[in-house]
């Protein structure tokens, strides 16, 4: 395990990953992230929020909007989640270079990824509530979580 994360090497690696898997990343991101989001936003019924609305009024309006549009938001969310896990599999696992294989593996990993994201989100939230800084630090500590799940690495 490397001691210190090198900014330049990590950024170079990011670019290299995107270049070498460009076709797969473009196909998965376009079909499973961009399209559902675009379609959901097009068909969602939204009301213009008042400029003078309080936080609780904004929250109530968001809740009402989610309740009125759940049948659009839920499939879009699931599709995006599956697409994200498929991207992790495609980029993190060299043994599954095909898009179909990555999506099949993502389907199996989806519940674990969802639970891990939910738990880490709660931990970030608690950290941010405490003093902000612990939450930011935890975002850094959990940065490779998706890759760990995609590769199936154990402790």
């Amino acid at each position: 395990m490397t001691d210190r994360l090198d900014f330049t090497a990590t950024w170079d690696e990011t670019r290299q990953l995107l270049r070498s898997h460009g076709e797969g990343v473009g196909a998965i991101a376009g079909a499973m992230l961009f399209l559902p989001d675009w379609v959901a936003n097009m068909f969602m019924q939204t009301e213009q929020l008042s400029d003078k609305a309080t936080i609780s009024e904004v929250a109530a309006q968001w809740q009402a909007m989610a309740a009125a549009n759940w049948y659009i938001l839920l499939p879009a969310f699931l599709c995006s989640l599956l697409g994200t896990v498929a991207l992790y599999v495609l980029l993190a696992r060299s043994d599954l270079p095909k898009i179909g294989d990555a999506i099949r593996a993502a389907l199996v990993l989806l519940p674990t990824y969802f639970l891990a994201q939910l738990l880490s989100g709660l931990i970030f939230g608690l950290g941010l509530l405490v003093l902000i800084l612990p939450g930011l630090y935890l975002i850094g500590r959990f940065a490779p979580l998706g890759a760990v799940i995609a590769t199936g690495q154990s402790g």
Binding site: D6, W11, L18, A29, M42, S120, G140, I149, Q153, G155
Partner: protein, 88 residues
Amino acid sequence: MDPSSALAITRGNGWVSFLLLFLVMLVAFVVLSVASLAIKLPLVLVVGPEGIPLVTHALGAFSNMVFSVITVALSVAIYRQLTAQPNI
């Protein structure tokens, strides 16, 4: 599979990982905002404050997609670097 091993991988690199994610997202946000404005502005001037919903929503969805792709790629790169499995 043990998701808590993410914590073991980033031991001693929590702040560096956060800073890298933050800086890349900040740059991506600025670039996407400027590009989005360059496309939206002529539409707003011609059509009105609503613009063309099809294009406006497409721009929003595209920005979200770019953020997601960068987050995933950066996360995998951090994982590979810290577990000494570089792709390059």
